[in-house]
């Protein structure tokens, strides 16, 4: 028996704690937790709340710095959202963390009714957005953006890297009203500091210009798009990257301006199902405005995704850098 096992090749892991950072990529540790601690020093009304996932959303950094402002609500996401609403009614600004699946799927009505309907100042930061774990559909939030976009009054943010997260935290605290933000945790890639970039709430930013292809992307797909652009440059394909960290409200004017520049293939790339995310949002705005470039979507399929190692899954579903580059080249013919 044991000889059979040892003769098998070593299997790839589907480990829970896998960082999305590539090998050798520069990273920043727990940017959300540290940014929140820094901000909390100036904003006494900020409190942290979680549903048994402080350690896995980097909120433990805040809990250590401000134990009296940290509220462990237990593994009870509906309670978490309702209690955050109650806290906000009493003047606090709760930063609430859990996994994206548990907030958006399990506690949807509580966010809708107790938080969004009353336009309360609750900031919901969720780890494991889209396909960022190999744990299977129980933990893969492939449809979180669609769900949260549909909720009236909810701002929706999908940051790319550590820099985005560090700058997003103080920005959402200033915004009056509820915010859903995707969270990258642990050792988070640092990418955008190489570019002339600053996160601005509600703004799309052209990070890199190019003549042949315009990639409109959010979250980790912007990081991938920038890698693709470097790769395709070797093939003399010139790729522009428009980063859209704020999914709702959408920076329509910037998107229309860039997509309206003639002659470029427009590719919307997102770590999310094809349904209801950035791709459909951009497509709708283009049609409404009569802007009709050649339009393609790189996104997850409308399916229950497989369990497995994250790199395997990103290849399988077409959102890894290498597959994305191949796909875009094939569209160029």
């Amino acid at each position: 028996m044991s000889s059979t096992v040892t003769s098998k090749p070593k299997l790839k892991t589907s480990a829970m704690i896998a960082s999305i950072a590539g090998e050798g990529q520069r990273t920043t540790a727990a940017p959300f937790g540290h940014a929140l601690v820094k901000l909390a020093a100036e904003r006494p009304e900020i409190v942290g709340m979680t549903a048994d996932l402080a350690k896995y959303t980097d909120l433990h950094i805040f809990a250590q710095a401000y134990p009296e402002r940290f509220y462990q609500m237990g593994m009870a996401e509906q309670l978490l959202m309702g209690a955050a609403a109650g806290m906000a009614h009493e003047g606090a600004i709760p930063f609430v963390t859990t996994y994206a699946v548990f907030a958006t799927r399990r506690a949807y009505d509580f966010m809708h009714q107790t938080i969004a309907e009353d336009n309360l100042n609750v900031k919901i930061a969720c780890a494991l957005p889209g396909l960022t774990t190999g744990y299977g559909p129980s933990h893969q939030a492939a449809e979180d953006l669609a769900l949260m976009r549909a909720m009236p009054g909810m701002m929706v943010i999908d940051p790319c890297d550590a820099l985005d997260i560090e700058q997003m935290v103080p920005a959402v605290a200033v915004h009056k009203g509820p915010v859903y933000m995707r969270l990258l945790r642990g050792n988070v890639p640092a990418v955008l500091d190489e570019y002339d970039y600053r996160f601005e709430l509600g703004k799309a930013k052209l990070i890199r210009d190019g003549r042949d292809v315009l990639v409109i992307s959010s979250g980790i797909m912007t990081m991938r798009a920038l890698e693709v652009a470097k790769e395709l440059a070797a093939d003399r394909v010139d790729v522009a990257v428009l980063h859209v960290p704020t999914i709702k409200p959408l920076d329509t004017s910037t998107i229309l301006r860039e997509a309206g520049r003639s002659g470029r293939l427009v590719v919307v790339a997102e770590n999310h199902t094809t349904i209801g995310g950035l791709g459909e949002a951009v497509g709708t705005e283009l049609l409404r405005a009569g802007v009709t470039p050649q339009f393609r979507q790189i996104a997850l399929p409308d399916a229950f995704l497989d369990a497995g190692a994250l790199p395997t899954l990103h290849d399988r579903y077409g959102i890894s850098t290498s597959v994305m580059a191949t796909t875009i080249k094939s569209w160029l013919g």
Binding site: Q78, L79, G82, M87, H89, Q113
Partner: protein, 281 residues
């Protein structure tokens, strides 16, 4: 001393009468409404607003007020009746109940109505918000209480039990919850839809200071609210109020039990007369 207590009781009885009357008048406006529930909870609301709670009618958002969270939003007709009686909503607005552009929609919502502290209706949410408000008040060092009313049907919702555990965990001695046990929910008698007894023992086991009373016995309601406020323990407080739907209007009380009690057009006036007769008795 004894006499002033009697006076106070008489005043509360009059407030309860007027809350019932306001609710019937609103029901008449629309020809419908959750009047069975409004009549059953009127005594609890009278004691809440005229015997227990601290508030300023002219300033519904006064920081030091006690908060009242109506989880069962369909009881809005009852709470409006109390808010009108408390002078938070003008009596004249009663006629707009349930109409387009009214501040008094059929289901209670915070953004519509002064004195309405939450948007209820998606049942089972009030207690979770109440936990957050209790924590938020403690964070500010406030001495205010949070009251929340929910119904026995809401006990079916899992979030209620999340709230029950959490309130005890956080030792929320500023939280007073009232469960209206009228044993009626949408599809039938609550105890048959989802057995919830023994309720007192459950609440006690969850760590709450618990009293079970006849919610239409005004003296019992007064005593329960006093005990809930003054209980020395560092724990949340629960009042389980067994109530009678339609209480105060005998022919409605005798009517076949239903979540949405049938009242014919001509019966609203009869109900007001029956209520008036009971007041004089």
């Amino acid at each position: 001393m004894e006499e002033s207590k009697t006076d106070a009781r008489a005043k509360l009885a009059e407030h309860a009468y007027r809350i019932r009357r306001n609710a019937l008048l609103m029901g008449e406006v629309q020809g419908q409404g959750y009047i069975g529930q409004a009549l059953d909870i009127a005594d609890v609301l009278a004691v809440s607003y005229f015997g227990a709670m601290n508030y300023r009618p002219e300033d519904p958002e006064w920081e030091e007020r006690d908060r009242f969270l109506l989880s069962n939003g369909h009881y809005a007709i009852a709470l409006y009746a109390a808010l009108i009686e408390a002078g938070i909503i003008p009596q004249a607005e009663l006629e707009t109940y349930g109409s387009d552009d009214s501040r008094l929609p059929m289901s209670g919502m915070a953004s519509y109505t002064p004195g309405m502290e939450m948007s209820g209706g998606s049942l089972g949410q009030g207690l979770t918000i109440a936990v957050g408000r209790g924590l938020g008040l403690k964070r500010k060092g406030s001495k205010a209480f949070v009251y929340t009313l929910f119904s026995d049907g809401e006990l079916d919702e899992g979030a209620i039990w999340e709230g029950l555990m959490s309130a005890a965990h956080w030792k929320l001695d500023n939280l007073i919850a009232i469960v209206d046990v009228n044993n009626q929910q949408a599809d039938g008698p609550s105890s048959q839809i989802m057995a919830f007894e023994p309720l007192t023992e459950k609440m006690e086991a969850f760590g709450w200071f618990t009293q079970r009373i006849d919610g239409n016995d005004l003296d019992a309601v007064i005593a329960a609210f006093d005990a809930a406020r003054n209980h020395p323990g560092e724990q949340p407080r629960m009042i389980i109020a067994d109530t009678r739907m339609g209480c105060g209007v005998p022919f409605l009380e005798a009517r076949e039990k239903n979540h949405f009690i049938r009242v014919d057009a001509h019966e609203w006036q009869l109900a007001l007369e029956a209520l008036e007769a009971g007041r004089q008795a």
